[in-house]
Symmetry: C2
Subunit: 328 residues, 2 copies
């Protein structure tokens, strides 16, 4: 019955988190797959491992044959720590206290119409949550960042001045810098978060073309003459008037003919599909004063009011977010 | 993708809990179904209500047509507070801190092989959790209690001495007392919990045939000569040796030809189905030192070791628990 399944569904999150924290998926693949073998590898109790593995089998993350567990194809690709596509680190952010504390006070957030955790929630200056985000979410964002650079700068052979708003791990800007040796990246984020982006820029060998602009994107001098402004996973934290006025600032920072590239969760006009996307506003309600997800027609209107002449939406499948390219 | 759906599935529990706490389902049915109408009724912000209602629509608890929400058939039956089948109160237990705190330390519980909340978890004497359970879970247990009385005492016309172990809300014993005017109920539970059962016995008009035995079922004198011993939602808190020795005590308390009626989550022999039942051991791992769910072959062996000669299992559909009737 949907009701009980839903009431108990927090257990699924906790079970998956425990398995990732214990490195259980890696242990399933690297041992004989019995509860005792896995338990020895994870330094956990056999009884605990047996119960957790049965649960993970039930919810689709493991197979069970007799008393041996094995990884499903997806678990092998994304949850075995030895896989290059390992995504387990995202629970460090998505199931961090930063996120779950907002949901603990969700009833109050509905009453209030915004986060009940504090006045500004996750939007407080230099909130440590964004350092966690930058480290945990990078693996998930890598393929998306490559797709965006390919769409926005397909030839990758001309000088390109790129503004990267809320640059976080830096991957969105770095995707341009690594493909195009003439691209210069100007990354805006809190000072503590920029350190993560700088590390990644150095690792990618483009540290000399990576320039940090520390501070609030609303308050700092962004500079001017940009060919591209990346506005990724940022606008959903704000209400429509704030977005409109912020996009005017972006518009002013762009060169003539420059483009803004906005990465967002864009629900269909009915706001109840597709599933992952339509669920996103609840995260904003729980954690921010007035964040939301906006439909394409809402973005189109806000961006036009900010001065952009044309907005085009691009699918980034298999990712559920979409890219809006807006021309000055 | 299953991974992200699972990571985020805690949000489903929290959204449903918030809706129940706000009486939102009742408000959807009793207003014009717009976010503003519902918000006024729930004394909540329209923005909060709109985001929550979209989420609940996405996960199947509401319908949406234009800007109006309405209840699904199941939500109307089980989540509108005016419905006689209202089940919303179960979140007071199933999503109480008692339960969720165990899941917060699930990784440690897997390492340890038992609850990491405290030495005894929910098995501490007079744990307040069981008062909450008694009040919150009664509506869910009412239909099950009626089915059990019908199976065990179909004629309901002969004197019947009934022992009700871990009587909680009292409904299991009371189902016998209200059907059979010659039934006398002896209810065992913590003193604080027995108060709830006594209240319900009075309400049912059978207070004079309802006798309280306060204390631990393991330690108190249970009395003797019982025709029926109800052992409902109790054995899963313990390991197999403890169950076997407890059932010897039950065996001794029964009259010749007496029967034990055990209500339990009984997974199939592979332990990974059916879904709701196979998920139960994780709750025991999170909250108890050594609780679990046992297959019928395990119960059959334990009960035979305790002296019972024959064990029969009965479906209680649509409930997911099953009844094992054991003859002395």
């Amino acid at each position: 019955m949907l009701f009980f399944d839903t009431v108990n569904s927090h257990q699924r999150s906790e079970a998956l988190k425990a398995a990732i924290e214990l490195n259980l998926f890696t242990a399933v693949a690297s041992t004989d797959g019995t509860a005792s073998g896995i338990a020895a590898e994870c330094k956990a109790a056999e009884r605990g491992v047996r119960i957790l593995c049965d649960y993970l089998t039930m919810i689709g993350f493991l197979n069970k044959e007799g008393n041996r567990y094995s990884l499903t194809q997806d678990s092998a690709a994304f949850l075995d720590r030895r896989s290059p596509a390992y995504l387990g680190s995202v629970v460090d952010f998505l199931l961090s206290d930063y996120i779950t504390s907002g949901f603990k006070s969700l009833t109050e957030a509905v009453r209030k119409g915004g986060t009940a955790t504090s006045e500004e929630g996750s939007l407080e200056p230099e909130h440590p949550m964004w350092e966690t985000f930058a480290r945990a979410m990078a693996p998930l964002m890598y393929p998306v960042s490559q797709m965006i650079a390919q769409i926005v700068d397909p030839s990758a052979d001309r000088p390109l001045k790129v503004l990267d708003i809320a640059s976080s791990h830096g991957l969105f800007g770095l995707a341009f810098a690594t493909r195009n040796t003439k691209a210069e990246i100007y990354a805006v984020d809190w000072a503590n978060v920029l350190e993560v982006g700088k590390e990644n820029a150095k690792k990618a060998g483009v540290g000399d073309r990576y320039h940090a602009i520390p501070g609030s994107a609303f308050d700092v001098d962004l500079g001017s003459g940009y060919d591209v402004a990346l506005v990724t996973n940022f606008l959903h934290h704000f209400d429509q008037p704030t977005i409109e006025s912020f996009m005017k600032k972006i518009h002013a920072a762009l060169a003539e003919g420059g483009r803004a590239a906005t990465l967002e969760f864009v629900p269909s006009e009915d706001r109840i599909s597709p599933p992952g996307v339509a669920g996103f506003p609840l995260i904003m309600l729980a954690g921010t004063p007035s964040g939301d997800a906006y439909t394409f027609s809402e973005f189109d209107r806000m961006f036009k009011n900010a001065g952009f002449v044309k907005n085009e939406i691009h699918s980034l499948e298999p990712a559920i977010e979409q890219l809006i390219v807006s021309r000055k």
